[in-house]
């Protein structure tokens, strides 16, 4: 059995676990813990502390694993371990929380430093009324025109599929160079 992996990263509460959950054929193996910090608790009750783990079986011979990283900075020691040997990565950004854009940018740079693999940025929660416009997010995140910034709704399977496909297209394009 051959295996490949992709990493889903991004700031705290960007929607990484939900993203994997939407396409994984198994229930996501989540390492969530109740949140202790009051300010973070106001956003959600539990968070990933080690990793999330989802699986998509391609055929008898090939399996794609999806790893979600913990979003909180104090667990960033896990990032490099998860980045090892990845096919590519997705940076999830919560379009409704501009205060996390700077951190998303830092995470993106950090993962680029681990491995120069292809990546895409997913502007999550685009279905929310206070979501930032994707073009505005491109400016705020300081992403070049060549970087794929994709509108996304992590609860919507089709939307998640589109993000994964765009990453795979980028991987193919990179292989042609």
């Amino acid at each position: 059995m051959q295996t490949v992996k992709m990493v889903v990263t991004g700031p705290f509460s960007a929607g990484k676990t939900q993203f994997i959950q939407s396409v994984s054929e198994i229930d996501v193996v989540a390492t969530e813990r109740k949140i202790s910090k009051a300010d973070e608790k106001a956003i959600k009750n539990a968070t990933t502390v080690a990793m999330d783990f989802g699986r998509i079986t391609v055929d008898d011979d090939l399996v794609l694993y999806l790893f979600g990283t913990p979003g909180q900075k104090r667990f960033d020691f896990m990032w490099e371990i998860l980045a090892e040997g990845m096919l590519g990565f997705i940076v999830m950004v919560d379009s409704t929380r501009p205060e996390t854009f700077r951190e998303a940018r830092t995470i993106l740079e950090t993962f680029r430093a681990y491995a120069p693999t292809p990546y895409v940025v997913a502007a999550n929660k685009q279905d929310m009324p206070d979501a930032w416009d994707v073009d505005d997010m491109r400016v705020a995140l300081r992403l070049g025109q060549n970087t794929k910034l994709l509108p996304c709704v992590a609860t919507d399977k089709e939307s998640v599929k589109q993000v994964l496909l765009e990453l795979l297209y980028s991987i193919l394009e990179e292989m042609e160079r």
Binding site: V4, V58, D59, E84, P116, M175
Partner: protein, 272 residues
């Protein structure tokens, strides 16, 4: 107990606060990446400061604080060889060139500037030698540390914010592709122009800072401004191209098989 360690763990601001609160007398030596500074305190107040990169004689201090012109400094420095700072100070006062107040203010400004530079050092070994005194022939001051500490804390906060924006100095800059922007129409300071003149994907920020003689804080501050103005963007330096190690990414090594594998993944995702 020895007061020694690394600025990584204990900042200059914290050290000054300690000296101030404990009313310490002695010399704080800090060995930075490429510069050493010695700061002398008397009963918790700043008395004297010097670095190994600059002449610490009075004539140089007066020149650096714009009291003397370069020509005056050179003339005095050549004629006052062998003269102590105290003797030179008296000579200048008696000749009517400067007042005692001007000398004291210049020294205070020069010493405080040295400490401000130390605030930008993120790393360096420090050691506090109790009861060490400044050289006897130098003029000392008694400068309260409170304002310097507050300024240091402010700079520290700024540095933390800049570190978030520009986490590493090992990245390079390139001009953004904005045909409408003409650099000639932008008002830049001398330092900013100097940085702009080095902008190239081949030069890391660290190299630019060294070439332009800027501290970590100064280069980050300038680059942050240029980034916010949309004039430049951060790129990986060209001199350190990283190759993609596909052998770790794929379970197969043949490029054709790798391509087939990705296409199988695409087909599967589409069919979900």
């Amino acid at each position: 107990m020895a007061l020694r360690g690394n600025l990584r763990d204990f900042t200059v601001t914290q050290l000054l606060n300690l000296v101030h609160l404990a009313r310490k007398t002695g010399m704080l030596s800090i060995q930075g990446t490429n510069e050493q500074a010695d700061i002398f305190f008397r009963e918790g107040k700043l008395a004297y400061a010097r670095t190994n990169k600059e002449d610490d004689h009075l004539a140089y201090v007066l020149y650096k604080t714009n009291v003397l012109s370069k020509a005056q400094y050179k003339a005095i420095a050549s004629r006052a060889q062998g003269m102590s700072d105290k003797e030179l100070g008296l000579l200048l006062i008696n000749a009517g060139y400067v007042t005692q107040e001007v000398i004291i203010n210049s020294l205070q400004q020069y010493f405080a500037d040295i400490i401000r530079r130390l605030f930008t050092w993120a790393e360096g070994l420090f050691n506090f030698e109790n009861d060490a005194r400044p050289p006897a022939d130098r003029i000392t001051v008694r400068l309260d540390l409170e304002n310097i500490i507050i300024e240091g804390a402010r700079q520290l906060r700024e540095m933390e914010q800049l570190m978030q924006e520009i986490p590493s100095l090992d990245i390079a800059l390139k001009f953004t592709d904005r045909p409408g922007t003409n650099l000639r129409n932008v008002n830049l300071s001398v330092e900013e122009w100097r940085v702009v003149s080095y902008v190239s994907p081949k030069n890391t920020l660290r190299q630019i800072a060294r070439a332009a003689n800027l501290s970590d804080l100064e280069i980050r501050r300038i680059v942050y401004g240029l980034l916010q103005a949309g004039l430049v963007e951060m790129v990986r330096p060209e001199l350190t191209p990283r190759t993609l190690d596909r052998s770790k990414m794929f379970p197969v090594q043949d490029k054709g098989e790798q391509r087939t594998l990705v296409n199988r993944l695409i087909d599967r995702i589409r069919s979900l």
